[in-house]
């Protein structure tokens, strides 16, 4: 498939077309999010998409006027984008388990600490190599990027498993957003694998496929924002197993224990009243 593009000029044209299509689709997505009032529901996802639009505009300027520094602009934009994508993943988790405060808080805590640990591990790996300080930073971000893509692949597993619990879950916007990230991460990991195995001769083809994949994911997001059931309509609520887990995390006694406690209090009050009545009778 990578050899299918016959002429370099045709390839360049397609690359430009896909590049320009990206911000158009992203602006469309932002407009739909504003119209559907999803800006407040998914504020971090909204910021992430907005950043993609601004990044594309900046990169287009660099490409046109300062092509030599395009690499650095691309890398810097990517480093910020990875951080924003991380915050979106945290937002997805919080939306997914909105009704379950305990699971939500525990998941967010684990996720954030996992990110810190992964970033520190990436820094250690990068500093252990004999390179300049700038290259070490780049290597650290690269390692962290790859790990985050792996985590985004895991998102696909998570949403597929959750969709088995709830039949209508796959129609939710949070499902669409998570799925989009997961699909793009999976495709990108496969493409990077091809690139590292077969060398740089196919870089333009792979870059084009990646660009098209991201645009396809943006179309998926637009579809979900336009057509999907609002998150509040089919929340992951009411599942007894999740409820038990949530209660266990929060440390709140369940209704049965609560009932037993109240019964004991009631019995103690009755005993005290009975004793006082007996004492009155004896004294009389």
């Amino acid at each position: 498939m990578l050899h299918a593009v016959p002429h370099p000029s045709a390839m360049t044209l397609m690359t430009y077309a896909s590049w320009m299509l990206g911000p158009i689709l992203q602006i469309t997505l932002l407009v739909f999010m504003i119209r559907r009032k999803l800006r407040t529901t998914f504020p971090l996802f909204f910021s992430y998409i907005l950043f993609q639009v601004l990044k594309s505009a900046c990169l287009a300027l660099f490409f046109r006027f300062d092509q030599m520094d395009y690499f650095y602009a691309y890398w810097t934009g990517n480093a910020i984008s990875v951080f924003l994508a991380l915050t979106v993943m945290d937002e997805i988790w919080r939306q997914l388990f909105g009704p379950y405060e305990g699971i939500q808080r525990l998941g967010s805590l684990i996720f954030r600490w996992a990110c810190v640990v992964l970033f520190l591990a990436a820094l250690v790996i990068a500093t252990s190599t004999q390179r300049s300080s700038a290259d070490r930073l780049i290597a650290a971000v690269f390692t962290f990027d790859r790990t985050m893509r792996l985590v985004q692949c895991g998102l696909v597993f998570l949403v597929v498993i959750v969709s088995r619990f709830l039949k209508s879950f796959w129609r939710q916007q949070v499902f669409g957003i998570a799925l989009g990230f997961g699909i793009f991460a999976s495709i990108e990991l496969v493409l990077v694998s091809l690139l590292t195995r077969y060398g740089a001769s196919h870089i333009n083809s792979i870059s084009l496929v990646k660009s098209i994949a991201y645009n396809a994911v943006t179309v998926l997001w637009i579809g979900y924002v336009r057509l999907a059931v609002p998150a509040s309509a089919t929340r992951l609520a009411g599942d007894p197993q999740l409820e038990l887990l949530n209660q266990a995390i929060l440390g709140i006694p369940d209704s049965a224990e609560d009932h037993t406690f109240l019964t004991r209090v009631e019995e103690a009050v009755e005993r005290v009243l009975a004793r006082s009545a007996e004492q009155k009778r004896k004294s009389a």
Binding site: L21, W75, I187, T196
Partner: protein, 60 residues
């Protein structure tokens, strides 16, 4: 959700995870012209083929 779609999604995610691990271990033909640091990136922007003013000739 359709079961076939679930299988496709899981397969894709597994392929991605597998590629992530094997890319880390085996990179025999990695070319210096392609900077690893720009391989993973969101957005439709084209990947830079070279870094700064150092831009070796490409086959393509």
């Amino acid at each position: 959700m359709n079961k076939a779609l679930q299988v496709v999604l899981i397969t894709l995610a597994l392929a991605g995870a597998y590629c992530s691990l094997t890319t880390h271990i085996v990179t025999p033909n990695a070319n210096s012209a392609v900077e690893k640091s720009v391989m993973y990136a969101d957005g439709s922007d084209p990947m830079p083929a070279c870094r700064g003013r150092v831009c070796p000739p490409q086959d393509n």
